[in-house]
């Protein structure tokens, strides 16, 4: 049985202008120790999926349907105090720009200790020992725990935040763009570290990013999101070598790479839709060059094209590879 | 070179007018939703009608000899002044026999004139100096900031007392002085800090790269972006100007023929303010009018605050 089983998850934000269809009918599974990458452009709902899994939603957000079964327990109907037990210990999260979330007036180590003591019955000494172990795990000198956040570099703060997320030995960690604000060399170290820790602890991971190159490095399975929907999901090699959804193909063709043949970049005309008022049928059809009449009327079903390769498209492109349009 | 397409444009002023109307409608909607803003506006409108009704009443049902706010005297009630409210004098008469309602209505005009003139002067000076200080920094900034400290710490009231003994202080001069003093005071600091947040935006750099000079940048980029805040402060400044006038008049420091402050002063001079609870019609109407009008401008300011600071808005 999968560690996390998300089925037909739908979450909307209520605003004065109407409902924002942030997450619509999203389904996927993660096995223990597996890494799934969620990729998509800004506003596609990838962070909203993560927040729904953690049930850390603002007041105007409503989960309208679906299930989030973690370790055999459905989180959707669960009351807040029950969910709180699962957060940190079960699923833990590294937020976007989390490195700015450290409180500047307390020592970094003390902030982690405080977080640990809220969840585990440990004494100060035990907690300090635990933090020292975590610092070694993320590749930092344990002596640094008695320093203040301003004495840390961006990469060190990010490591500290990852250490905090790992404090209660979670079975799964959600990382939401943890390296976006960092320079490539620091990013490279953090990615390596995350990968090593994950293998060492046999932890499942959901890695969220807009950068398909980063996703390619850290994920076993990749889900591509567009306008609140999961449009394609497959193992990493399949997504890169044989993508079938026109949006996935467009995303791959628009992404520059420093290696390999320098093929012309293809840009996708138009803009992502307004989720207050998403288009009828397939949400990608106004920008899709393969769109047909059915795409404008009916929502394509999210189905298994071949074992492990899911897609929601009326006209999946089987010829594979990247788009050759110039 | 590709061949030039010719475009047909509407006259620019028409488009600008339409854009202005559209943004006005949008902001009006937000202002309306604030609830307190329109309430304040209604009170102000009420005062405006109140003010406009005075000349009409004077030329129709009110006898100028009896009802003139300054020279009037009701001979029918000799010996009874200050007379309590009656049909002839709905708010009674003052100790020298003048109609209180007439005084109240007549004074509204000067309160408006004073409050708005002073506030406009304050905000104009504050906006200009604030943006100039923010843009140039250095010595200019230091000079005006220390001046602002001085103005804020200076005993404003004592200064006015001294000044009125040198030059007789009429309403217009008072408005100029209060507006000017206010403009060099706290508001420059507030507007300068606003202007500083604008100054570091990349569009200021873009304007420099385009060749815009200091004057261009201050006029086209900094001022338009702090103007909403200036306008907001203008509303709060009307309130403080009216309050100051009332206080100064109450102490008899102004060379003004009639105002709400003078009405309170008249009651005080004749010794009626001590007998609390008895001659209420002498102090309650001007007191209420001052409070209500100041309150109304404050409410409008709060309503504008919701447009200017989107974070205050409810979802």
């Amino acid at each position: 049985m999968a560690l996390l089983d998300v089925g037909h998850l739908t979450m909307h934000y209520t605003t004065k202008m109407g409902d924002v269809h942030a997450v619509d009918d999203v389904s996927f599974e993660i096995d223990a120790g597996e890494a799934i990458g969620l990729v998509g452009e800004s506003g596609c709902g990838k962070t909203s999926v993560a927040m729904s899994l953690m049930k850390l939603l603002p007041d105007n957000a409503r989960i309208l349907g679906g299930k989030i079964v973690f370790d055999g327990l459905d989180l959707v109907p669960l009351p807040e105090d029950e969910v709180r037990k699962i957060r940190w210990k079960g699923i833990s999260m590294v937020f976007q720009a989390a490195m700015n979330s450290l409180n500047p007036v307390y020592r970094v180590g003390d902030q982690i200790i405080e977080a640990i003591q809220q969840h585990l019955p440990l004494s100060i000494e035990e907690a300090r020992a635990k933090v020292a172990k975590l610092y070694t795990l993320v590749g930092m000198d344990p002596k640094l725990m008695d320093r203040y956040p301003h004495e840390y570099s961006g990469g060190m703060k990010q490591r500290a935040v990852i250490a905090m997320a790992l404090a209660c030995d979670p079975k799964m960690i959600i990382a939401d763009e943890p390296t976006t604000a960092l320079d490539v060399i620091v990013q490279d170290r953090i990615l390596h570290r995350i990968d090593e820790i994950r293998k060492e602890l046999n932890m499942a991971m959901m890695y969220i990013s807009h950068d398909i190159a980063v996703i390619a490095e850290v994920s076993d399975v990749i889900g591509v999101m567009y306008a609140g929907r999961l449009v394609e999901l497959a193992d990493t090699v399949t997504i890169f070598k044989r993508p079938v959804h026109p949006y996935t193909i467009a995303l791959m063709s628009a992404f520059p790479s420093i290696k390999g043949e320098k093929r012309p970049l293809v840009h996708l005309p138009g803009e992502p839709p307004d989720l207050l008022n998403p288009p009828q049928g397939c949400r990608f059809h106004p920008r899709c060059r393969y769109a047909t009449a059915v795409c404008q009327e009916q929502v394509p079903q999210y189905r298994e094209l071949e074992p492990g390769h899911y897609v929601a498209c009326w006209n999946p492109q089987r010829k594979g590879g990247v788009d050759a349009r110039a | 070179m590709m061949d030039r397409t010719t475009y047909k444009f509407e006259p620019l002023w028409k488009i600008r007018l339409r854009l202005f109307a559209r943004s006005f409608r949008k902001n009006w909607g937000l202002f309306w939703e604030s609830r307190i803003g329109p309430l304040g506006l209604f009170i102000i409108l009420g005062f405006a009608l109140f003010m406009a009704a005075h000349p009409i009443l004077m030329s129709t049902i009110w006898d100028p000899k009896v009802y003139d706010p300054i020279m009037g005297f009701d001979p029918k009630l000799v010996g009874q002044h200050p007379a309590p409210p009656s049909w002839a004098h709905p708010l009674g008469t003052d100790p020298i026999g003048r109609d209180i309602l007439s005084q109240l209505m007549w004074s509204t005009r000067s309160e408006f004139a004073l409050g708005i003139t002073a506030a406009v002067i304050t905000v104009t000076i504050g906006t200009l100096i604030g943006s100039v200080c923010a843009y140039f920094g250095g010595l200019i900034d230091m000079f005006f900031m220390r001046l602002a400290d001085l103005v804020m710490l200076f005993p404003f009231f004592a200064l006015l007392i001294v000044m009125q003994s040198i030059i007789p202080m009429d309403l217009f001069k008072l408005a100029l002085i209060m507006g000017g003093l206010g403009g060099f005071g706290a508001i420059t600091i507030v507007l300068k800090s606003q202007a500083l947040t604008v100054k570091v935006k990349p569009y200021i750099e873009a304007a420099k790269v385009a060749g815009g000079g200091a004057f261009h940048i201050i006029r086209n980029h900094i001022i338009p972006n702090i103007l909403p805040i200036s306008f907001l402060y203008m509303m709060f400044n009307v309130t403080s100007a009216i309050f100051s006038e009332a206080a100064l008049s109450f102490f008899g420091l102004l060379d003004i023929r009639m105002s709400w402050g003078i009405m309170l002063n008249t009651a005080q001079d004749a010794g009626y303010l001590g007998a609390f609870g008895y001659y209420w019609w002498l102090w309650a109407p001007p007191g209420a009018a001052i409070t209500l009008l100041c309150f109304a401008f404050y409410l409008v300011g709060r309503g504008l605050d919701e447009i200017v600071n989107p974070r205050l808005r409810k979802r």
């Binding site: 490279d188 170290r189 807009h210 990493t236 520059p256 996708l268 803009e271 | 475009y7 990349p202 060749g211």
Partner: protein
């Protein structure tokens, strides 16, 4: 393809004083943001400036458009000394010829101005009085940057446009005066992937149509590979390697460039990157030592590097310069 030399930068240096909290202290420290940078940009060329944050690439760009005055060094545009230009008609002429595109399309457009006013601003400042002419030139420029039909965009406000459209407006503003040289400071780093490719293609297209050269500043080497003809890699205010883009990216010579390129993730799950051989963290160049700036992190540095001054650029191959003692 390279034509005549358009822009020549020599020994360009910019120090920023560091504010010290201790008053009465006379000893001032300086951040060596740009230190002795030399390069040339040819007509019609896109010259890339890459490096991590804080390496001085944006400062260099701002020095070139005279948003900052250099501490020392020279900048020549078409043989004319740029630093001597102070005000008046010559400055106005310089502004017409050299423009800049900024990184953040959300902050680089004044929210209280319409698109027309934004794009017409350089024209107005440069003294184009005729309203008809301004309207026509703005409309023409908007259609050149792909905002068509221009009438539908001219009288909207920036907040009514998407990020990609805003960046097109910013490009139109920079191009409306017909500049010869444009500093593009990370013009696509805030944009989504599918939008980014469109803006990159537009900039390449405008180079041909408007005959403009760019200094293209980016931290993203993959973007630089697609945009630039030649590339300079900066580290703590110094240029460490310059050469043809493909050569620098595929065969980097300087140990820093090698690490930087090895660290870039590749969108190909079957590709295995080389290990990144670099120690420690980047530091701020406050009063740096005289020896090689990269030495504290260098995998190949030795004692001779420590006793020698910072290496100057040496031509290792034709047109490929590297600043390293060990090569």
């Amino acid at each position: 393809m390279p034509g005549r030399e358009l822009l020549g930068v020599e020994g360009l240096t910019k120090y920023f004083p560091v504010k010290k909290r201790l008053f009465l202290s006379r000893a001032r420290s300086f951040i060596h943001a740009v230190d002795d940078v030399t390069f040339t940009v040819h007509e019609g060329e896109i010259f890339g400036l890459v490096g991590e944050s804080g390496c001085g690439k944006t400062t260099t760009g701002k020095l070139l458009v005279k948003l900052y005055e250099p501490t020392c060094g020279s900048i020549h545009l078409d043989g004319q000394d740029v630093i001597q230009i102070r005000r008046g008609a010559r400055l106005r002429e310089f502004r017409r010829r050299v423009q800049m595109i900024f990184q953040d399309p959300y902050e680089s457009l004044n929210p209280r101005m319409t698109i027309f006013d934004i794009v017409a601003e350089p024209l107005a400042v440069q003294g184009v009085r005729s309203l008809v002419e301004r309207e026509e030139r703005v409309a023409d420029m908007l259609s050149k940057v792909g905002l068509t039909p221009p009438e539908t965009f001219m009288f909207r406000y920036p907040h009514e446009l998407s990020g990609g459209q805003r960046q097109r407006v910013a490009i139109a503003r920079a191009m409306v005066l017909g500049p010869e040289f444009v500093v593009a400071d990370e013009p696509t780093s805030m944009l989504d992937v599918s939008i980014r490719a469109g803006v990159m293609k537009l900039l390449l297209e405008l180079r041909e149509v408007l005959n403009v050269s760019y200094l293209y500043i980016t931290h993203d080497l993959a973007v630089a590979r697609y945009m630039c003809d030649r590339l300079a890699v900066m580290y703590l205010g110094k240029v460490v390697e310059v050469g043809p883009t493909e050569e620098v990216i595929q065969e980097p010579l300087h140990p820093y460039t090698r690490a930087l390129i090895a660290a870039v993730p590749v969108p190909d799950p079957t590709y295995r990157r080389e290990p990144v051989e670099i120690k420690g963290d980047i530091s701020a160049p406050i009063d740096p030592p005289s020896y090689c700036r990269f030495l504290p992190r260098c995998p190949i540095g030795d004692v001779t590097c420590e006793s020698s001054p910072h290496p100057s650029l040496k031509e290792v191959r034709a047109g490929h310069f590297v600043a390293c003692h060990r090569l």
